[in-house]
């Protein structure tokens, strides 16, 4: 019994990370109805730059985290300016293809500037004394990650639901052609959306780096695709869906890992995706278009 509860807990911690990543995709898709395929690379680049430019220079962790967020946000804005805007909002496939191009640019740049494909490690891995709570073992780093992820998820949701800008974002998702007629600056909303989304990816990257202790210049594609899979499982454009799916996947993976499924572990998000889509063609909380 305790073993099951422990696995559940581990899954929750892993899932919080996933949820944060999926949230960054969902924000873009939910508001702009556009798919960005560069977020995995943004995630990678934000973590890499933060480790090289801040952590390795002896900066405290808080600075490293802020650098990751700022780099993520900047690359998010660049996605909008370089990939989305030249194509236009009405062409979802061309826009997604353009972001593949941008992903290639980011990844190639990271590899060239790094000079090698080896991972960059944290200056000193966090002391992670396991916390013993009754029968449960917890790592403080993971609790920290969970706390930040929870705050950011609730905050993002509240921002989109309550604030004026959030309202404008939802309006844009609803009817992109109407907004300019109401005098709402569409360009500013798309930039803001991608900045927030990129910042979330940067933050997720920093948190993952804390957990894993390193970032690899080649990590972008895989993690990016898992983020996409989670968004799809949750239902495109649904923020609560992304969170449910992220945490759900974390728990499923934790149980699979405790049973031991070998190399099938890496296929779990995809198997889950296929199963969910067969039962619910619009994901867990998605709405039919």
């Amino acid at each position: 019994m305790t073993e099951i509860a422990q696995t559940l807990l581990n899954g929750l911690l892993l899932g919080a990370n996933y949820a944060l990543l999926a949230l960054s995709y969902t924000l873009v898709f939910g508001v702009l109805r556009l798919l960005t395929l560069a977020h995995g690379q943004i995630f990678m680049a934000a973590g890499l730059v933060a480790l090289v430019a801040a952590d390795r220079q002896g900066q405290p962790l808080i600075v490293t985290g802020l650098v990751a967020i700022v780099v993520g946000a900047s690359l998010g804005v660049a996605t909008d300016l370089l990939a989305f805007r030249p194509v236009g909002l009405g062409r979802p496939i061309a826009a997604a293809v353009a972001t593949i191009g941008f992903a290639l640019v980011i990844e190639n740049t990271a590899l060239q500037l790094r000079g090698s494909s080896t991972a960059v490690g944290l200056r000193e891995p966090l002391p992670a004394p396991d916390l013993v709570l009754g029968p449960f073992l917890l790592s403080t780093v993971q609790l920290f990650i969970l706390a930040i992820a929870a705050v950011v998820m609730v905050g993002t949701n509240a921002f989109v639901d309550r604030s004026r800008w959030g309202m404008a974002m939802r309006a844009l998702a609803e009817s992109p052609r109407l907004l300019p007629l109401l005098g709402i600056p569409v360009g500013r909303i798309t930039v803001l959306t991608l900045a927030i989304s990129g910042a979330l990816a940067g933050l997720a990257s920093f948190l993952v780096a804390l957990r894993n202790g390193s970032v690899s210049p080649l990590a972008g594609t895989d993690i990016g695709l898992v983020g996409l899979a989670i968004m799809t499982i949750g239902g495109l454009g649904s923020l609560p869906g992304a969170m449910v799916a992220g945490i759900g996947l974390g728990i499923v993976e934790a149980f699979a890992s405790s049973i031991g499924v070998g190399t099938f572990q890496s296929a779990i998000p995809w198997l889950l995706l296929v199963l969910i889509l067969l039962v619910r063609p619009h994901g867990i909380l998605g709405k039919p278009e």
């Binding site: 191009g101 190399t263 889509l277």
Partner: protein, 550 residues
């Protein structure tokens, strides 16, 4: 200066990429953007290598086995793909690639992560022969009626169903055929390398294959081939930059080749979002046949319609009995009943929200029949899907024009003709006249009214027993409306039962034999136009707008 074409491996992969692009083209022609192609290539490569190494089969049976295995795996994928659309399809098929790769890594019968070794080698020549055959085959497919249906689905799936296309079947065929072709490519790839491993068929390959088609353009056979050729060639040239004896300044290009490629992808999408070769571009390379748009001259041509009739002279063409429809809690149709005979024009009138379009959607099968019954001549329409109803003789146009933009006017009409089945067919020339535009013009290049005419011509082309026209006169000027009225009368005289929904009350009262007035999902009045003009309830429902036309 060196010639990249002298490199055997380059030549092989150039042809390989063109072949897989062709496989993707077949799938994506129906609008299904599949990222499962690497998975299908893997299945073909493994099946081919297995029968080669373990059973010693020769080349042709190996390729057939590869095609069959890939097609077999594609069948459940195709059925699954039919349930989802857009990004869900993209992610679902991407999952297929990943699941296939991991499954193969864990399958000891095919060597696990070590893969299979020691296949009989085959090279560029075999690849070239297969590619040539594939090009001929795909060109034939895409110009066949099936290819026409595939391209129609790309443009508008609902409208394709309304034009009588069994969208489900066609989409499944496309996925399976594309997978078979990709499987063959995989087997040739395995033979060229003489070994095969699961990690050669990752998600990256699926994305590359998709890019060939998306960059090249999906609206012509040349698009995917050109896309695959240019991308492969570009990356190879960039890779070997130093060997060209160019100024050293340019040496940066090799290490930065993927960034350069990425930048070009972004630039191409910004300038040509539909890919390098659009259908328009391909056609403008051909002899331009821009004839002046011909005027619609229905009155002159009505006489030219063959006297052969396909419609029954007796009984009712369509019976609507007690039909109700709800959207959640909103009652769109309460209890609607009316009958229309052959050779009769019935106009449905009613204010916005009265349920007119909902009724058309229920009759055409776009919305399910929730309550009541529908009979076409003597057939119950019950739960038949939209395309079956069109084939039985219920044709429609949409309130917001829905033509197949990337198809020519002639192709739009031909698609309609296919739904006529065993009913007498109207002559193609007459239908083209009806469409009012040169047959070789792309439908999306026409004005809105021009597109509406094409849509009407497509609906009429199926020789319907019942024709449902939803706002056909929207956007038309006085003269065009007059011509439309003449056309509708001509169609009635052919024996077609016409159900007309139009905001232009003058038009409706002018040409209808009978009027059915809907208000909040109920029939509040029914009768000849003169009686309807005088009806108090109708006046009340319309708040006096009817008075003007009296």
């Amino acid at each position: 200066m060196i010639d990249v074409f002298q490199n055997d491996a380059f030549r092989f992969f150039l042809l390989f990429n063109m072949l897989v692009a062709l496989g993707m083209y077949v799938v994506y022609s129906t609008g299904q953007l599949s990222l499962g192609q690497a998975g299908f290539a893997a299945v073909g490569a493994y099946a081919g290598s297995y029968v080669d190494v373990k059973l010693g089969w020769p080349l042709v049976p190996v390729l057939l086995a590869a095609a069959a295995a890939a097609a077999l795996v594609a069948i459940p994928v195709a059925f699954g793909a039919n349930r989802v659309r857009g990004l869900y399809l993209l992610m679902g098929t991407l999952a297929v690639t990943e699941v296939v790769r991991v499954s193969l890594s864990n399958l000891d019968a095919v060597g696990g992560i070590q893969g299979i070794h020691g296949m009989e080698p085959s090279g560029v020549l075999e690849m070239a022969v297969v590619l040539a055959l594939a090009i001929v085959g795909v060109a034939w497919l895409m110009s066949s009626p099936l290819g026409l249906e595939m391209r129609a689905i790309f443009d508008d799936e609902d409208a394709a169903a309304a034009a009588g296309v069994s969208t489900r079947t066609v989409k499944i065929i496309a996925v399976v055929a594309g997978a078979a072709l990709t499987g063959i490519a995989g087997a040739l790839f395995a033979r060229y390398l003489s070994f095969i491993r699961p990690d050669l068929f990752g998600i990256g390959l699926s994305f590359s294959i998709a890019l060939y088609v998306l960059i090249g353009g999906v609206h012509s056979l040349a698009g995917p081939l050109v896309g695959a050729f240019l991308i492969t060639y570009l990356l190879e040239v960039l890779n070997r930059m130093q060997q060209f004896g160019l100024p050293p300044v340019l040496d940066f290009a090799s290490p930065w080749r993927f960034a350069i490629y990425g930048g070009l992808v972004m630039a191409v999408m910004a300038v040509r979002p539909e890919g390098l070769l659009t259908r328009g571009a391909v056609r403008s390379l051909q002899a331009p046949l821009r004839r002046r748009l011909r005027r619609l001259r229905t009155s002159a041509h009505a006489a030219a319609i063959p006297a052969r009739r396909w419609t029954a002279g007796e009984g009712s063409a369509l019976e609507v009995v007690g039909v109700g429809h709800r959207f959640g809690g909103l009652v769109a149709l309460e209890d609607v009943a009316f009958t229309i005979r052959p050779a009769e024009i019935v106009a449905l009138l009613g204010a916005n929200g009265a349920g007119k379009t909902t009724l058309i959607n229920v009759v055409a099968g776009r919305l399910p029949l929730q309550r009541g019954s529908l009979r076409l001549a003597r057939t119950s329409l019950g739960r038949l899907p939209a395309h079956r109803r069109t084939r039985l003789g219920v044709s429609r146009t949409f309130q917001s024009v829905r033509v197949f933009g990337h198809l020519t006017v002639g192709e739009n009409v031909r698609l309609g003709l296919r739904a006529a089945r065993d009913r007498a067919r109207l002559p193609l020339e007459w239908l083209i006249e009806l469409a009012g535009a040169p047959p070789e013009a792309l439908a999306r290049d026409l004005t809105l009214v021009g597109q509406r005419r094409v849509e009407i011509a497509r609906a009429v082309a199926s020789s319907p027993l019942v024709l449902l026209l939803d706002e056909p006169s929207a956007g038309m000027n006085e003269r065009e409306r007059g011509e439309l009225a003449q056309l509708i009368r001509a169609l009635r005289d052919l024996g077609i039962a016409v159900v007309l929904v139009d905001h232009n009350v003058d038009l409706a009262l002018g040409i209808a034999d009978r009027i059915v007035v809907l208000d909040f999902g109920l029939v509040i009045a029914e009768g000849v136009p003169d009686a309807i003009r005088r009806d108090e309830r109708v006046r009340a429902a319309y708040l006096g707008t009817m008075g003007r036309s009296a």
